[in-house]
């Protein structure tokens, strides 16, 4: 009875208009990835509890690891050099390496023809992701989902901000920026001309302005949302 109630209710939640806004999706299907791993990788690379180096190094905690960084495994010179140059295994690098190992590291010793099917690579990487650090415990760990890129359309400045939406969005800002406009430690953002606000946010979004927290916040605000925030923070100064 209880289970049924919860199931019905999940459906209800999935249906609300919220779902249409969701920008994130999982890397891939980890269950499908487990089978791909078994067929494509497992003969050389171990992963999971008790995994050790075999023909290739084990792949536990491969995400965020520098290339060629197991001191007890003998890598090709080419991979070691890439590691010294700063190559780290993240989603994009792993995807490129699995697609065609020699395209990323010309002299690699990994004799693998590559996996051309993007979906199968995504599933495989989703499976491998589970054996690396989890963001809940290590917040700086590689992401576990993919966010849609937002393109900058024309006439961004002409968008009229939705003040009510801006008020909701502003709650993310006011964790740090005080509504009173105080600027101790963290700058005040209340009462700015809307255009200045919009330009500044887009500068963070494009990573022209250098501040990691603000770049991160701006990265997922679309043009309407930036306009809404600009309108709201302008409006509360008039109160």
């Amino acid at each position: 009875m209880k289970l049924r109630l919860v199931l019905t209710f999940c459906i209800g939640v999935a249906l609300t208009p919220m779902q249409a806004f969701s920008q994130a999706s999982p890397i891939g299907d980890a269950t499908a990835g487990a089978e791909i791993y078994r067929r494509e990788c497992a003969s050389c690379h171990q992963i999971g509890d008790g995994a050790v180096h075999r023909i290739g190094p084990h792949l536990n905690r491969i995400f965020d690891r520098g290339a060629g960084s197991h001191s007890d495994f003998r890598y090709s010179d080419a991979l070691l050099r890439q590691g010294r140059d700063g190559l780290k295994w993240d989603l994009r690098r792993l995807d490129a390496y699995i697609e065609n190992p020699r395209a990323l590291v010309s002299g690699t010793r990994m004799s693998y023809r590559g996996l051309s099917d993007a979906q199968r690579r995504a599933d495989l990487i989703a499976y491998m992701r589970a054996y690396s650090d989890q963001p809940q415990n290590i917040p700086e760990a590689s992401p576990t989902a993919i966010i849609r890129e937002v393109d900058l359309p024309e006439s961004v400045l002409a968008i009229e901000g939705d003040i009510e939406y801006g008020e909701f969005l502003s709650s993310e800002c006011t964790t740090c920026h005080q509504r009173t406009g105080s600027d101790a430690g963290i700058p005040g953002i209340v009462g700015w001309p809307e255009e200045d606000f919009v330009v500044a946010m887009h500068a963070y979004k494009q990573k022209l302005r250098p501040h990691a927290v603000m770049q991160s916040v701006a990265a997922r605000l679309d043009d309407d949302e930036i306009a809404a925030l600009a309108a709201y923070f302008r409006a509360i100064a008039r109160e």
Partner: protein, 420 residues
């Protein structure tokens, strides 16, 4: 619980109506009860009261009259923050229109939709928010139980335990040994233990420079590890040693009566021992039947709604939501999503898409601040990390000082947002 999005589209209108209509059409003022007045509970109570202009009856149940934040309690240990400045009372939350009850919630009857209080009274709700923070897993540190917290403090829920730990460190013998037993994943405030080591080292390097610090850690690695290790080497050379699982850090017991710590069979005589046990959701979440075998309360990623009960939301440290770390910042962020959803369901106000974010600042030494943060989005399965950033090793002193000043700005910002 994996959802197939396509399947739902056919019955969208029906299901949405079934979920929200009864509450919206309700007669008297709908009632929201919030259990726990920390960063999650305090925020959600205040935001619902503030934004609904009295249309929703909001009750906050919190035993303490004054709340001491866990965040920045390490800075108090290091001498960078006053104890009193960690404390906040509920006057302004009450003035927003929240009915604040200082009592313990001792049970939840989810069929009758009531919360039982220690006083014997019961409070009824249309929507319940459970935000009790953490409790410790009994027996997770062999030899230690909570009755020994005055001998070996955890100091992981702020308040008097942190005062006690500071007092013990101040009175440590010259050249003595400070031991921290670090917790297994997942636990509240991932960089918290590393920041605490930094602050204890700062304090000792001034008052007791020949003292040593030993970390016994069952985990292979931890948040901001490279930053902390670089900082300890620079500011407190030779003072800090960490024993990870490869060296027996996952095989230990403590003897509070004799102040001994046994690591991989070897006995160390400690002068101060900070035991941070394994953690689980605050007890009331378990009593209410909202937790699963992990000890945490599973919630839906779109809005932090309990997977056990559609009328109940679980916020902050107690919830199992996916990738967000257990932090005050996360709880505050989640609370704003929940406030928007509850107001929508009870008053018909506009519903906006969930936005989740987190940043954790840590102080390593005077003017040497670092940060880590990420953005999160709901997927069908969980709240997932979609991007992250972290301070870099080798940053210059100016940037580190700015990061520290920013953290003070953040502290003042978040407590103003909740309690101000």
């Amino acid at each position: 619980m994996k959802l197939n999005r396509r399947r739902f589209l056919g019955t969208a209108t029906l299901a949405t109506a079934a979920l929200s209509a009864p509450a919206v059409l309700g007669q008297a003022r709908p009632r929201v009860v919030v259990i726990g007045g920390g960063s999650g509970g305090g925020t959600v109570a205040r935001y619902i009261a503030k934004d609904s202009d009295g249309a929703v009856d909001v009750t906050l149940i919190e035993p303490s009259r004054r709340y001491y934040t866990c965040y920045f309690s390490n800075l108090y240990l290091g001498g960078f923050w006053e104890y009193d400045a960690l404390g906040h009372d509920y006057g302004n939350i009450a003035r927003t229109g929240v009915n604040v009850i200082h009592d313990w919630a001792v049970g939840v009857d989810r069929d009758a939709q009531t919360v039982a209080l220690a006083s014997g009274e019961a409070v009824s709700y249309d929507r319940l928010v459970v935000a009790p923070g953490i409790d410790f897993v009994e027996g997770s540190v062999p030899g230690w139980n909570v009755s020994q917290q005055s001998l070996m403090p955890h100091a992981y829920k702020s308040g008097t335990q942190v005062q006690l730990l500071k007092h013990q460190i101040e009175n440590m013998r010259e050249g003595g040994l400070f031991v921290m037993v670090a917790p297994p994943n997942p636990y509240r405030c991932p960089p918290g233990p590393g920041e605490r080591i930094s602050m204890v080292a700062h304090m000792l390097s001034q008052s007791n420079p020949t003292a040593k610090i030993l970390i016994v850690d069952p985990k292979e690695n931890y948040s901001k590890q490279a930053l902390f290790e670089e900082g300890w080497e620079r500011h407190y050379p030779g003072m800090v040693t960490r024993i990870g699982p490869d060296m027996g850090g996952d095989d230990f017991e403590v003897r509070p009566e004799t102040m001994e710590v046994v690591i991989d069979g070897e006995v160390e005589q400690a002068d101060v021992c900070n035991v941070i046990p394994a953690q689980k959701a605050g007890k009331i979440a378990e009593l209410a039947g909202l937790t699963n075998e992990s000890g945490w309360a599973p919630v839906l990623p779109t809005d932090m709604r309990s997977r056990m009960d559609e009328k109940v939301f679980v916020l902050g440290d107690a919830s199992a939501q996916g990738d967000m770390p257990k932090s005050g910042f996360s709880a505050n962020s989640q609370a704003k999503v929940v406030a928007n959803v509850i107001r929508h369901e009870l008053t018909g106000s506009r519903l906006f898409p969930a936005r989740y974010s987190n940043t954790c600042w840590s102080l390593i030494a005077t003017d040497d601040g670092v940060k880590v943060g990420a953005n999160y989005e709901p997927t069908d399965e969980k709240i997932a990390s979609v991007s992250s950033f972290i301070s870099q090793t080798g940053e210059d002193a100016d940037l580190r000082r700015q990061t520290y000043e920013e953290s003070i700005g953040w502290y003042n910002g978040i407590v103003a947002d909740i309690f101000g």
